[in-house]
């Protein structure tokens, strides 16, 4: 079987946990099938991370260095991945599912004539098929979906993107053989122009990486509520998320929306504060290890997914909780 390839774009000089999760799973499957586990690292200076991916089982590490790949435009990224696929001939290509993957997966599929299996919760191989389970209907159910592996020699790998939190990160030594791929991109062929990148407030914790997330919903009505959310978050160095109600109202930045439209997160601990638990919100957070919900409505649907449901007014519970946690932490 041709190699399995995990594509890892390096943005802002960081490599996300979700990428290592996908890599760990892909390496496991490559070992099972007796094929090579390759990694494609793309970015301004991708070699910074070749050691890290080697220690997570990469046999070969392909490096494409180009500062344009840091620019959030899909064309260079797409061209670079197609060029690499053309020289590596993988049978399976895996990605962590995030907005930059979502931006290119369809185009890659169409450019290659390849099947694409986006946003899967698990994937494995049966004979000549890649099989996945993926949440559908606002993550109310799981669909079993299959795609055929290409005949060897065809340039049509199966493409899979994986939801964060679906697999554990596993360290294992891989050969880590480095290969630099030359990528000449003519900026003149760029049809899009990036005018500006508006970053969410600097210094906030990345939701994709956070161990703990404190998420606010419409029950958080005012600055005092936001202050309590921030204080609880600061005790754990937690990421702050929000329901659509509060990103829509402008109370929180749109980039912290959690759910079907927003992000899929998978922290160790998730506080849902004043959030009703609409299916579209739950779709983004039900992969959390432990969920604590605070809501004054004892029948709020969020309690159906919460491990610990605190029934009451968040303006009374949060100050008490902050105090108790401070006391325990000493």
């Amino acid at each position: 079987m041709n190699p399995f390839l995990t594509v890892i774009p390096v943005q802002n000089q960081s490599l996300k946990r979700a990428s290592l999760e996908v890599l760990s799973r892909t390496v496991e499957l490559a070992n099972e099938k007796g094929t090579t586990a390759d990694v494609l690292l793309l970015g301004a200076q991708p070699e910074t991370f070749s050691q890290l991916v080697a220690s997570h089982g990469a046999d070969r590490v392909f490096l494409v260095g180009n500062s344009l790949l840091n620019q959030h435009l899909n064309t260079p990224l797409l061209k670079a991945i197609l060029m690499a696929i053309d020289s590596i001939h993988p049978s399976l290509v895996s990605f962590a599912s995030n907005e930059s993957t979502k931006d290119i997966l369809g185009a890659l599929s169409a450019a290659l004539g390849s099947p694409a299996l986006p946003d899967v919760a698990s994937f494995w191989i049966e004979g000549d098929k890649v099989c996945v389970k993926r949440p559908v209907m606002a993550a109310k159910i799981l669909a079993n979906v299959k795609a055929l592996f290409p005949n060897s020699g065809q340039k049509k790998p199966v493409l899979v993107s994986v939801r964060s939190g679906s697999y554990e990160v596993v360290e294992r030594a891989g050969r880590g053989e480095k290969n630099v791929l030359e990528f000449a991109f003519d900026e003149g062929t760029l049809r899009q122009t990036l005018r500006e990148v508006v970053k969410a407030t600097a210094g906030t914790v990345d939701l994709a990486e956070a161990e703990v997330i404190v998420a606010a919903g419409r029950g958080v009505k005012d600055d005092e509520g936001k202050r309590l959310i921030s204080e609880l978050a600061s005790l754990f160095n937690a990421g702050i998320g929000a329901s659509r109600a509060l990103t829509e109202s402008g109370a929180y930045d749109p980039s912290v929306q959690i759910g079907q439209t927003g992000k899929v997160v998978s922290p160790q601990l998730y506080f849902a504060v004043g959030i009703s638990g609409a299916i579209q919100h739950v779709a983004g957070m039900s992969n959390s290890k432990v969920i604590v919900a605070i809501n004054k409505d004892p029948d709020a649907p969020i309690f159906e997914v919460a491990d610990y449901g605190l029934v009451g007014d968040l303006y009374q519970i949060l100050p008490a909780l902050i105090q108790e946690i401070k006391a325990i932490k000493g």
Partner: protein
């Protein structure tokens, strides 16, 4: 500007559903306009009301999907194109993308817009597939659109922030529902929609035409069955005095999770 908006009819995700023998059963056969596509239609209407132009919608689906085209016409789109398929089963984003691209290839337009994903499959592939098949500049997950001369200015929600990207027309964009609140059709709109033209094209007449990459209209992925989501169990509910339940949960969390260290 001339907009084509691709719209999909999807089952109502709020309607109760059961799974029997690996298939989804919904008592209500209620089908709706995909929420993300409603936002794409709304935005196109707002932009053409401001800058001039027209909005037509394209839908690939079975006969029943006609009602969803009417919905978009009632919102204000001028004409509908119905790429009529036998049924929805066996189709995937790739097969729909092939149909849409084959139809649109011969047409003139400035912006071809999509929803960022279909609410029923949550795939989010079709827009970028069609852009690639037609070799058009594109971007995804737009939360705001504007027109400047012959450029579409897209505010895109990325992973860490928002990117503002200028695309020369013709171009492709996929829309988030975060960009607007779609209008509810007025009675006048609904009445008027009945007189608006809907062109019906048999999907079979578009099949087989091979586009650049070898997409032929065949589905490339196959959904074999559905199953229930492994449910999270509702856990403990703590009720009573705020101080007391805060104390209890803090203690439990410090013992059961590793996040206090």
């Amino acid at each position: 500007m001339k907009f084509f908006v691709c719209i999909k009819q999807v089952p109502d995700v709020y309607a109760p559903l059961q799974i029997r023998d690996g298939e989804i059963h919904q008592d209500s056969d209620r089908q709706v306009l995909n929420a993300y596509d409603a936002s794409a239609v709304e935005e196109a209407l707002v932009l053409t009301e401001k800058h001039g132009g027209r909005v037509d919608v394209i839908l690939a689906g079975p006969e029943k999907a006609h009602e969803t085209i009417r919905k978009a016409l009632a919102m204000g789109a001028e004409e509908g194109i119905h790429l009529q398929t036998e049924s929805t089963s066996g189709q995937d984003s790739a097969s729909y993308a092939h149909l849409l691209a084959t139809f649109v290839k011969e047409k003139e337009f400035d912006v071809l817009s999509f929803g960022k994903q279909a609410q029923d499959t949550d795939s989010g592939l079709t827009g970028a597939m069609v852009a690639q098949l037609l070799d058009l500049p594109y971007t995804t997950n737009a939360v705001g659109l504007a027109i400047e001369g012959d450029h579409l200015i897209v505010t895109r929600q990325g992973d860490i922030g928002q990117e503002i990207i200028a695309l020369p027309t013709p171009c492709v964009v996929t829309c988030s529902n975060d960009m607007n609140d779609p209008r509810i059709p007025t009675l006048k709109g609904i009445m008027g929609s009945k007189r608006k033209p809907v062109e019906v094209v048999q999907a079979s007449s578009l099949h087989g035409t091979s586009l650049a990459s070898g997409f032929t209209g065949e589905a490339l992925t196959h959904t074999t069955s559905f199953e229930s989501m492994p449910a999270r169990k509702a856990g403990e509910k703590l009720q009573g005095e705020a101080d007391e339940i805060a104390r209890q949960v803090a203690k439990i969390l410090s013992e059961k999770t590793g996040v206090f260290s």
